[in-house]
């Protein structure tokens, strides 16, 4: 069963008299454990699509099923709960909470979103710290570590809740080439280790050459799918 299914998906923004069709009748599906990227020029609708899959922005038309749930009908609180349980996010700017240490940043979703007991939290945080190779930096604050290390922490935070799907919007945009390769390799390893599905939106050829399925978007329409099954 597909983890993400989109049918005639649409997103239209209306600002006064201006109507912008950001996504126009897109159909696609993503299988569990995939390593997928949406590519396309600026304004093609990559981020909009990712936001809709991540339940941050509801579709204005069509159907979007994520992990078996129709996310287009969820309200604000329901979608927050759904994200907390099912989806992990990795941001271009890392978006770590500056007042929390590396370990606390990773722990945050378990404590503040999932209300997991302390023992379980500690075990998960320890496991993820080891998995991303940040064990020796656990007590440092984000301001004390490098960009690559920050993105490792962000990967760990996205995976700590056993999320079935991780959405990464331009995850390597703020990293140098060498670090970017390492981060992509890390995410691939995580996919292999935890079976998590990764969906990217990117321009970065380093990401593109490493993903297994590529969806190309242009002007809100899906032009082609390369790798895996055809659209």
């Amino acid at each position: 069963m597909s983890l993400v299914v989109a049918q005639k998906l649409e997103k239209t923004y209306i600002a006064g008299d201006i109507v912008v069709k950001a996504i126009q009748g897109v159909d696609f599906s993503v299988e569990p454990g995939s390593f997928v990227s949406f590519i396309g020029p600026s304004g093609s609708g990559k981020s909009t699509l990712l936001n809709m899959i991540g339940c941050l922005d509801p579709p204005t038309g069509g159907k979007l099923i994520v992990a078996g749930e129709d996310v287009s009908t969820m309200n604000r609180v329901q979608s927050a709960h759904f994200r907390g349980e099912t989806i992990g996010f990795i941001f271009q700017d890392f978006n770590l909470i500056p007042v929390l240490t590396v370990a606390e940043n990773i722990e945050y979703p378990l404590l503040m979103v999932q209300n997991q007991p302390q023992k379980k939290r500690q075990q998960r945080v320890h496991k993820l710290l080891q998995a991303v190779g940040m064990n020796d930096q656990a007590d440092k604050f984000p301001s004390q570590i490098s960009g690559g290390q920050k993105q490792r922490v962000a990967v760990a935070r996205a995976l700590v809740t056993n999320a079935r799907l991780v959405l990464a919007d331009e995850p390597t945009a703020n990293l140098d080439s060498k670090t970017a390769h390492k981060i992509i390799g890390l995410m691939k390893n995580m996919r292999d280790e935890f079976g998590t599905t990764f969906i990217f939106s990117t321009h970065d050829p380093k990401v593109v050459e490493n993903v297994e399925i590529i969806f190309t978007l242009e002007d809100g329409k899906l032009l082609q799918k390369s790798g895996g099954n055809h659209v």
Partner: protein
């Protein structure tokens, strides 16, 4: 490893200077309010104590209409013996009443054999009077305080003693007109000089009640007023209502009420000053509320604005709006709590310091009154509660804004 409070504390520590400045502002407000309450409260309590314990008592009972014409000290509006007995029966049965004193108030001419002046007099039973107004003896600035006075003696008000140049042991003559119009004179020995205080009766001389009866040729036990002291002044309103309820229905032959009952508040102009102090306290509290409201709201609006991207992140990863609201409300709460705690500690230390320093002040003609500020736990708790509640209230609007923020818009914010 952390929770909402820990996160809020970390965020407050992130902006140390702002946190310190805001807390200082709240601290300043709390200190100002608590010191004002303690100083004005102790001044008020001292003045009320002085008014009630050295002169008026807590309650007074007169014949109906007496108070309206008290300036002329009318003798034809005295309570008759039968009426006094009824009041006494009621007072003797009231467990809240500590003591009561029967008084005859009269006006007389005061002569030192060279000069004559008019004097207002309060004629009392010394034993009962000292039980009813125990601080009266403290007002004797010259002369023997023991037993207040005996028959044939007079306590002369300070101003008259100075003006008429009389000393302890001097003989003076009082001449008074009784209610039938006949004039009588009687000589007295000056037993003591009485300090004058503000308010009605504060500059009256004092003689023995038996002397007043003979001077005025009163045959029976008629009196001008009964002053009452309660065990606890807090019971005043309750006892006042009970006395009114008990004596109110008693009517004379013309079917008019016989008695009138008054609290010290009705009798002393100081009550208006006390009310003014209460009003000023209220204004100071309102200013404190404004300080806390503006400073906390300002800080929290800044905090939300500076952390929009962070709010977007925590919302995106699944933090529900209520928890985001709680994060910011707790920050405001902690700011208020910090300012309040420091303010309370500084205030208590300052109050203790003022008591050690024995600060004295003058009020009207009263010199060297000792300021002994105190503050009740109730006042501290009330002020602390107001500040903390306002801190939470002031945080609500920015916190609500943060909780309602669209995650995508917040994440795009630079």
């Amino acid at each position: 490893m952390f929770n909402i409070f820990k996160l809020a504390i970390r965020n407050l520590r992130r902006y140390k200077r702002r946190t310190i400045l805001t807390s200082m502002l709240i601290t300043l407000g709390v200190v100002a309010v608590l010191l004002f309450i303690s100083v004005s409260g102790s001044f008020k309590a001292m003045m009320i104590g002085q008014v009630t314990d050295s002169m008026l008592g807590h309650l007074q009972i007169h014949k109906k209409g007496y108070l309206a014409s008290i300036d002329s000290l009318p003798l034809d509006r005295n309570l008759k013996e039968k009426q006094v007995v009824r009041v006494q029966e009621f007072l003797d049965d009231s467990k809240e009443v500590a003591a009561y004193s029967r008084r005859i108030k009269l006006g007389a001419m005061f002569s030192n054999f060279k000069e004559t002046t008019n004097i207002r007099l309060n004629a009392v039973n010394p034993t009962r009077e000292m039980l009813t107004v125990p601080m009266l003896v403290e007002r004797i600035i010259k002369g023997d305080k023991e037993g207040l006075l005996t028959k044939g003696e007079i306590l002369v008000p300070e101003l008259i003693a100075k003006g008429m140049k009389v000393k302890i042991g001097d003989t003076i003559v009082l001449v008074a007109t009784n209610k039938d119009g006949s004039v009588n004179g009687q000589s007295f020995v000056v037993r003591g000089i009485l300090e004058g205080i503000s308010g009605p009766g504060g500059r009256d001389g004092i003689i023995h009640i038996d002397d007043a009866k003979s001077l005025l040729r009163i045959q029976d036990n008629e009196i001008s007023e009964i002053a009452i002291r309660l065990n606890n002044i807090e019971d005043m309103a309750k006892v006042f209502s009970r006395i009114k309820a008990a004596l109110g229905p008693i009517k004379n032959k013309l079917d008019k009420p016989v008695f009138e009952v008054h609290t010290w508040q009705k009798l002393s102009p100081f009550f208006n000053i006390a009310r003014m102090i209460d009003l000023m306290t209220l204004f100071i509290k309102i200013m404190l509320v404004a300080i806390v409201l503006v400073s906390i709201m300002n800080v929290m609006i800044m905090a939300v604005f500076e952390r929009i991207n962070e709010i977007g992140t925590i919302a995106a990863i699944g933090t529900v709006p209520n928890k985001i609201l709680a994060l910011f409300v707790v920050e405001g709460f902690l700011l208020g709590l910090l300012g309040t705690l420091i303010g309370v500690v500084i205030s208590l230390v300052t109050i203790a310091g003022m008591n050690v320093a024995q600060i004295s002040f003058d009020f009207g003609r009263q010199k060297g009154l000792l300021l002994s500020p105190t503050i009740g736990a109730g006042d501290v708790v009330t002020v602390a509660f107001i500040v903390i509640a306002i801190s939470v209230l002031a945080s609500l609007q920015p916190a609500w804004k943060a909780a309602r923020m669209d995650p995508i818009t917040a994440l795009r914010h630079v």
